[in-house]
Symmetry: C2
Subunit: 555 residues, 2 copies
């Protein structure tokens, strides 16, 4: 090992949250490292912290400034939190994108949708094949997760081998995609692993994870016993589950219909890339409408209660002419991601109003997780036997717990959240903190999370918005009185007079009393009007609203 | 039973949601019934559906119109979703409020805070004492829940007896408050029960509920083994739990300090009304600051991650000079109510960053529910053996499941959501649907949920808000060009020019092209400006914003 070169790890996203994965590895002399990026995902906005936002990306400004030294982007698998930002951010990085066929299919489509060059996506063979990227040699290590061709990365560097797990579980019978292969793992571990950079999502789950193969028999039993139509939802990308659900339908003598864009897309991608052999034949929504409901099974999008997905549309009434009725069955073959409970509960109650029986995973038999639980993580540590365990993909609490698990077994570990630069060659020392954050895709524009745009929206939502206009003439005299428009505030307050009238009267008083010096100064007039509007509104309705003042001067 | 009189049940709140309980019972000739109201609670707003709102009440307009026939308001217990609206809504109903001492203490305080007459709150003795209210005789039946003196109501009418459970569990060792008393239940059931109106919250929980007494030993063990400071949170109103926590602290040789307004208030109320005997002595925050942290246990508000509560303040740094450190322990002796996950997870991660170990109820040993589980509900049905089971207090899915449970045991049941009038004398027939809804307390003003105020706020939060002003002179000519102010939209869009400039340029073009007919008509000018603003903004940033146009005419 050269004393000048160093091997660094720098998460820009995914270490401190579950979502928007983006991990940088670098090798070279300090400040002159060559880089690769692993994953470039999104996270999803919510009304509480990011209203109106479409998608959230890691802030890649640090890497963008150094893009001349970025040799490659590797995508571990096709989940949105790993590949979702590639089309939006690629032109800020301009490096080739490497992925296995199923993942590459999605990455290329996302590039195309954003007008980026699809040919930059390079389809790779799995381990033991490897890709050269600057000082790195990288191999895709097949492993089991909840989407086809999910892969860990074997990252060989002049300083030794890193294994970056991506998302994984230790499933020896995953039904679709590659099984956990302990022999391959041991072979990869053999030369010695400097660092295992490892998924932390399920570190709080104490029992060994269950195999995807346990789910099928339970679902088949449930569907066979159902009287009316059966509708089931899961993540569309969980192609193995979609197949299990479809097979259960067929086993129960039902025709299967896929509803929702991402459901159809994923199955198409599965067929196109050859990962989905033996998927039962499906029928169109038009044909489904003609069938007796007891002969029908719908597989729909919207396991998280998303408002526009097929499940929510069925909950509101019809979707493509299909609707649910009393004694139909709706199955959530999925878990509710924290934060999505309200949306899911909303559709469950709508189905309840229709007399539809809803089955969820409360019993723990109609869904299994795609992530390694705590004992599985320990087993992975054991097989790889790395010098250093670096927990990734998790909130702070997950990373911390994962590090504790590793250390309790006598291993070295380092807790590195987004922006923490770890020198792996120096045994996991933290050598720098880099500014990171979130980028919002807002409509078609990328804005910084801290730019104030979203803050203003939240303030308007919490406080309402009052617009005040005043015309001042050539002699610095007000022309008429101030006008007020209100939005998002009660029409009448304590005095039982319209709020608008009360505000206009108070502002007129203010302007009548204002001296010429104030009236000559736009800033002063605006500040006085804003302050009086907030005071008066607060007195009247108990809210201090956001206020925008427009002073127009006749030149 | 007179052929003219009828006995009706009409939920105005609580049947179709968990929260804002408000149940009307009526007896008399159709349209001339005398009424009582059981409970008058609140529910809590959220950013998604009710941003900026302070509290949510049931819409009591129906009852208000008939308040001359309202004889009494009964409050079953002091939880906010049962008593929280009494101070806000009392003057719209003006009937005496009956409650047992601990509940009455809270009701009176709430009346006082809103300037309502505290003397309208009448303190009642428990069953077999009864209160006369028009044609009703009502007794408070002590039962176990998660707050002292929780009571069901025995409601005797000329048509027979109704038992309204309020919130309850079958706990024979509840530690604080009255135990489940099967002998009293049997005695109440003896004359025959026309209808059991019954809590549905936990109908999906399949196992018999655990007693409050199971929690203490586990918590004591946990606290005894803790090395640093221990901080525990639970609902302040769960006085039994607060006592258990305090006793665990004392048993571990720690001094106990209560933090958070509602925590102190509840304990005060417990002392004042004599329900809280033997509560350990507590120390002030000032004294707590002087103690070694391993000798200290804090009991704090904020089990649901509420931003202003003590727990969240500790997560952000200091609270009353106290702060958490590495190796301290934070215990959630509570469950997270669906919808509050994000807030709770936020503080867990903040504690994780501080190196604080967080223990929650994942293991199911540091918290028990205050509601009857499915087998307990079945037992309650069995003891009361009513002619009719009416599920209340639950979302639609809970009510439906509860009705199914009752019917599967051969009982009659009716699913009645808010606004459904049930004729109990006619065996549970639905006889009317009454308009119901939600009233928002917004600042100090009550507004209807459908008034559009909150809708406007949500739209501004999702889309941003653009203000357009234009002055038109005496000759119907524009004086200068339109001015634009933006709030909650990106500053620059696709063209890389400021959005404000792009909008102003496009609007100027529009106004230059506008004919005199349009310029003479305020509505037409406004509509044209609004439309062009939305089009132009959408092209520039991919958002169609909310737009407010102000046209000022020089007279």
């Amino acid at each position: 090992m050269s004393s000048k070169n160093r091997l660094i790890y720098l998460p820009l996203g995914g270490a401190g949250e579950i979502g928007m994965n983006a991990y940088v590895y670098g090798y070279g002399p300090k400040g002159k490292e060559r880089y690769i990026l692993v994953d470039i995902g999104v996270t999803f906005p919510d009304m509480e912290s990011s209203p109106g936002v479409d998608l959230i990306f890691a802030d890649i400004a640090w890497l963008e400034e150094r893009k001349d030294r970025l040799d490659a982007i590797f995508i571990t698998h096709a989940h949105e939190d790993h590949v979702g930002a590639v089309g939006h951010l690629w032109d800020r990085l301009e490096a080739p994108v490497y992925a296995r066929p199923f993942t590459a299919y999605h990455a290329a489509r996302k590039m195309g949708e954003q007008g980026k060059p699809e040919e930059e996506v390079v389809v790779c063979e799995p381990w033991p094949a490897m890709v050269d990227a600057g000082p790195f040699r990288v191999g895709f290590m097949p492993l089991a997760h909840s989407i086809p061709e999910s892969s860990g990365l074997v990252i060989d560097t002049p300083d030794g081998r890193i294994v970056h797990t991506g998302d994984f579980k230790l499933d020896e019978t995953p039904l679709v995609g590659e099984a956990f292969d302990p022999v391959m793992w041991a072979e990869i571990a053999k030369p010695g692993v400097k660092a295992l950079v490892c998924d932390s999502t399920n570190v709080f789950s104490q029992h060994p994870g269950k195999s995807e193969s346990t789910v099928g028999p339970e679902i088949t039993k449930l569907v066979s016993e159902a009287k009316g139509m059966v509708v089931a939802t899961t993540f569309a990308s969980n192609v193995a589950r979609v197949k299990t659900l479809a097979e259960a339908g067929v086993a129960a003598g039902r025709s299967v219909c896929l509803l929702g864009r991402s459901m159809r897309r994923m199955v198409e991608a599965g067929h196109a890339t050859g990962v989905l052999e033996g998927f039962p034949q499906t029928i169109s929504p038009e044909d489904a409408r003609e069938l007796p409901r007891e002969n029908l099974m719908l597989l729909v999008t919207g396991s998280q209660g998303e408002r526009r997905a097929a499940s929510a549309q069925l909950a509101r009434g019809k979707y493509l002419g299909l609707s649910m009725k009393e004694n139909d069955l709706f199955l959530f073959s999925s878990k509710t991601i924290p934060g999505n409970e309200r949306g899911v509960i909303r559709i469950i109650n709508s189905f309840s109003e229709m007399g539809v029986d809803v089955v969820d995973d409360r019993a723990g038999i109609y869904h299994v997780s795609g992530h390694a639980n705590r004992p599985d993580l320990e087993r992975a540590h054991e097989i790889m036997n790395p010098d250093l365990v670096i927990p990734m993909h998790g909130e702070h609490r997950h990373l911390r717990e994962h590090a504790k698990v590793a250390m309790s077994n006598g291993r070295s570990s380092v807790l590195a959240v987004n922006g923490t630069m770890v020198d792996i060659s120096a045994g996991g020392q933290i050598v720098d903190y880099v500014e990171t954050g979130r980028t919002y895709l807002d409509g078609r524009v990328q804005i910084g999370a801290m730019d104030g745009v979203v803050r203003d929206r939240i303030r308007m939502a919490l406080n309402g918005h009052v617009l005040v206009t005043l015309i001042i003439d050539e002699n610095n005299e007000p022309l008429g009185e101030p006008w007020v428009e209100i939005k998002g505030l009660p029409e009448t307050g304590n005095s039982n007079a319209p709020l608008q009238d009360v505000l206009e009267a108070d502002l007129e008083q203010l302007i009548m009393r204002a001296d010429r010096k104030t009236l000559r100064d736009d800033d002063k007039v605006e500040e006085a009007l804003r302050r009086e509007t907030r005071r008066s509104a607060n007195e009247e309705v108990g809210h201090k609203p956001e206020v925008t003042v427009v002073v127009s001067r006749l030149a």
